[in-house]
Structure formats: C-alpha cells, structure tokens
Symmetry: C2
Subunit: 263 residues, 2 copies
Amino acid sequence: MTGGSGTRALDRNGSAPLWQQLQQQLLDRLAAGEFTESFPGELALVDDYGVSRHTVRQALQQLRADGVIVAERGRQPRVAPAPEIQQPLGALYSLFASVEASGITQESVVRTFDTRADALIAERLELEASTPLVYLERLRLAGEEPLAIDRVWLPAEVAAPLLDADFSHTSLYGELSQRTGIRLDHGSEEIHAVVPTRAERTQLRCPPDVAAFSINRLGHVRGRPVEWRHTLIRGDRFALTAEFSASTGYRLIQPDLSAVKTP
Amino acid sequence: MTGGSGTRALDRNGSAPLWQQLQQQLLDRLAAGEFTESFPGELALVDDYGVSRHTVRQALQQLRADGVIVAERGRQPRVAPAPEIQQPLGALYSLFASVEASGITQESVVRTFDTRADALIAERLELEASTPLVYLERLRLAGEEPLAIDRVWLPAEVAAPLLDADFSHTSLYGELSQRTGIRLDHGSEEIHAVVPTRAERTQLRCPPDVAAFSINRLGHVRGRPVEWRHTLIRGDRFALTAEFSASTGYRLIQPDLSAVKTP
DNA sequence: AGTTAACTTATGTCCGGACATTTGGCAATC
DNA sequence: GATTGCCAAATGTCCGGACATAAGTTAACT
C-alpha cells in the first residue's frame, strides 16, 4: 500500500512550487474524505511524494496555521475537529442570543409552514422559478410578548427533512444542523429602519409610532445560497450593539434586552 | 558597524527557540523605531545574529504573514506601510464612506458649534459635570438633500484646536487626526430603529411614515473615552449592509446608496 | 542620451543531515 | 495486576548547501 518511494507524483517541471502542489493535493484528498481519523506523518509523506521533509513541513505549515490539522511533538497529526461553536453569524443571531441571555422565555407561534413556489425568492436563491421551497413564517415571542416576525425560505430539496419538526420552541439552525448536517458558513444581510404597516403592527401588538428593523438575509453553504430570510423586529424592544477596534474590527455584541424590554 | 559575525546575541541554552527570540528582538527593535525605511536582509540577519538562514526565514515568516514586513524576490524587505486606510470603524463610517463612494456630493450645514458644559454627556465621557465640551451639530446632506443629523461632543481639552475649522465640507475625524494627531482606536455603538419626532422630520425634510436609525456611539482613544456622538439617519435613504462568514466574521460593507437614494 | 546587456544582490525553492524533545507502547519488575 | 523504565517513533529545531528567479545597478553600445 504505502510502500516504496514516489508513489504519488508531483509536477516537477516548473508550474507551481512543490510544497504548494502538495498542500493542494492534501486538501483535495481531505475534501474527498480520505483522512477520516489518521493523517499521514511527515516521514510518510516524504516517502509517498518523494520530496524532502522540509518541503512537506512547508506544505503542512499553512494547514496547521489554518487549523485544518493539528500536530504535536511525538504524536501523529490528526485532522482538526470541526470548529466547536459556530461564530455568531449576523444580527439575527444577535437577536435571539440576546433574548436567550436575558433569561426571558423564548417562544414562536408558527403561522405558516408549508412547501410552495415563489418566483421572486427562487431567483434570489439562484433557482428555477418553479422550484419548490419550504416556507416557514413565525411570530417570535420574548417574555410572552411579540418581538419579531420571521419568514424563511429554503429549497425543499435540502429542507425537506425539516417538515415534520416543531418550530415553536427550537431554532431553525439547530434543526437544520441536526437533521441535515447543513450549517451556514457565509451570508449577507441588509438592515433597514422602517415603520411597520398596520397589519404588521397588529401582529406584533406594538403601539403606533414605533419603528422596526427590517432585515433581509441571504445565507450560503459552501458557495450556494440556501436561505432567504426576512425578519421584522420591533424597534422598541431591540437594539443592535456593536464594538469595534483597530485590532478586532467590527463585532456585534449581545445587547442588554432588559434595558429595552418594555418602556 | 554591522561587520563581523554574532554581533547580536541570542540565548542559545534552552529557553525559547532561536527563531522565536529573533522574531521578538526584531519586533522590539521595530517598536523602538529602528527600521524606519530599510529592513535588514536575510543574509544580514544571518551575519548579525549568527544563525542559519533557515532560522532567519522562520522568524521572518510570521512577520510577513502578519503584514509587518513586506518581502519580494530580489528586493530588500521593507517595513510594511501603516495600515493603508483605517479599518471601517462602525456604522457611521459606513454611512459617510458609502456617500463618498456613490459619488454624490456630500456637504454639511453647521447648525451649532460652540463650547459648553453638559452633565449627562460628561458623565458618559467619564468627566466632571462642569467640564467644558466642544459641541458640533450638523445637518448632513447627500446630493443636496438631508440625510442625517449628527451631534458630537468632545472634551474641550483635546478638541480645542478644532474650534476654528470649517466643518461644512471636511470630516471631523480628518480634522481631528490632522490637527491633534488623535485617532479613535476603539468604540462602541448602539443602533436603534426609531420614528423621528416632528421637529427632526422637519429638519431632515423627510416625509411622514419614514423611520430612522438612531446611533449612539462612544469613541475611545487609548482606553479613554473622548467622543460621544448621536446620529439620526433617514431610513429611506440608508441601509446597513453586512457580510459574515466563518473565516472573516461579521463586517459592515458599504451599501449601495443609490439604490435607496430617493424613492 | 537612450537603450540594451551583463552583473550583482536578494529572496524563493529544495535538498540533505543532525540532534532535541515529547509521546506512546512494550517489557521487565515488584 | 499495576507500576516503572526503556526504546522506538514522531515532530520541533537548527544547520549547511545549492540552484532558480526576480529586481536593481552598472556598463557597454548604438
């Protein structure tokens, strides 16, 4: 199997540096699921690819820096475990995390939950207009009082396993991760300040002359858009809080919801 | 001067690895302002410290990865220029940068500009209630139409040199940096969605049933708060846009102002 | 004076070897 | 059976050398 020398070949005539080729090959093999639990040691790679240990180390170096693999002295390198806790992703995460943190009971009333087609949303998800989409519309309550209206569209192809879930207490991302293994890894959102329509005000049971955040979000998984979301949050019960510094950049932090709770 | 070998000494008996010591020494010397415009080459360091080129390269590697120094083939390494453009700092930066980017003329009408005392603001700046503060209130126009009301308080002690500046076309941060050398390095802000009062609507000349962003910001310089700012931005002409991913985290990006320009 | 060619210098890449240090497993011992 | 000691294996560190390649400099040439 892992016998002799030079089992695997690298293009030695020009093109890319050897260590770069090796690095890429390792990434490819890793993406193909080749190293489930044991990663080849440096000397094994030296033997396999017929390069010096220095070159192997140079290839591994960035992989270690990026946290793809973990290596310690005297121990065989292993593939790094998936990042434990997903980084807070976006203002929506901030919203629900802050409710959670403040200890207020969090609940959702599912108003609609079905599969349908929507040409406009489908286009935003880069799908055919007739593609079936799972649609979930919830009224989110915090402390038994309406906080936000949340509407999500996902391609039925990926979200079908969710259809028999109960979303009155669990989070969409939790179910999505648990049932399909899918986790958003990229997204963009646009945050507007709006005055809710009368219908929205009725649903949110909020007084007149109250503004709201309107957030449109497009979530991606591995480069493909898989979630369109629109959330309308009462402006009298929520605020975005951010911190920034030259070193850490701009970060949303969990606002103190109790301060904006019920004026 | 830089003659012989081993001019500079490294602790060779245990403790930290040579490359780490070298890296630290280089960082120290750099912090002392020793390499203003020319950084020693690899071979020079080999000669100076009496280590192999491999060790020198290992020490430099992380410095290059961190962008501290820049090295290219055949060219002497140089100290990387100070971070080109200051990192977008907060939603306010995003606001004015996006106006700038869209090519719309940006102008301010200075409504008030004086020195006064304000107990509430002083407390937020951690100052005595009677401390004199420079107060600047501007109506910010984009494309000759009102976009935001901007009010800033700074301790007079640091902002005094600004008092004879004309803020109808220049930015506060620009003047502050130019006249006093002060640049904000940290801050926090709270973003609310509100319905503007009638007086504010009048100033902003915006139609009824339009919401607004209300942003409170506290800016720091080297751990001391030096700026309290309140900005009210028309919600029909501005939106916050953000991107996030597991690798880069949450970042505000410049929204397309033209899309929200004038409905 | 302007252009080209050759040379120097510097980093990028790659190889070989050597020793230190830590881990993990095996074996001998109590 | 549990502990201890030893050895092999693996990575971390460090050194030396060699050639390739790009940039800058100088010299020669038109």
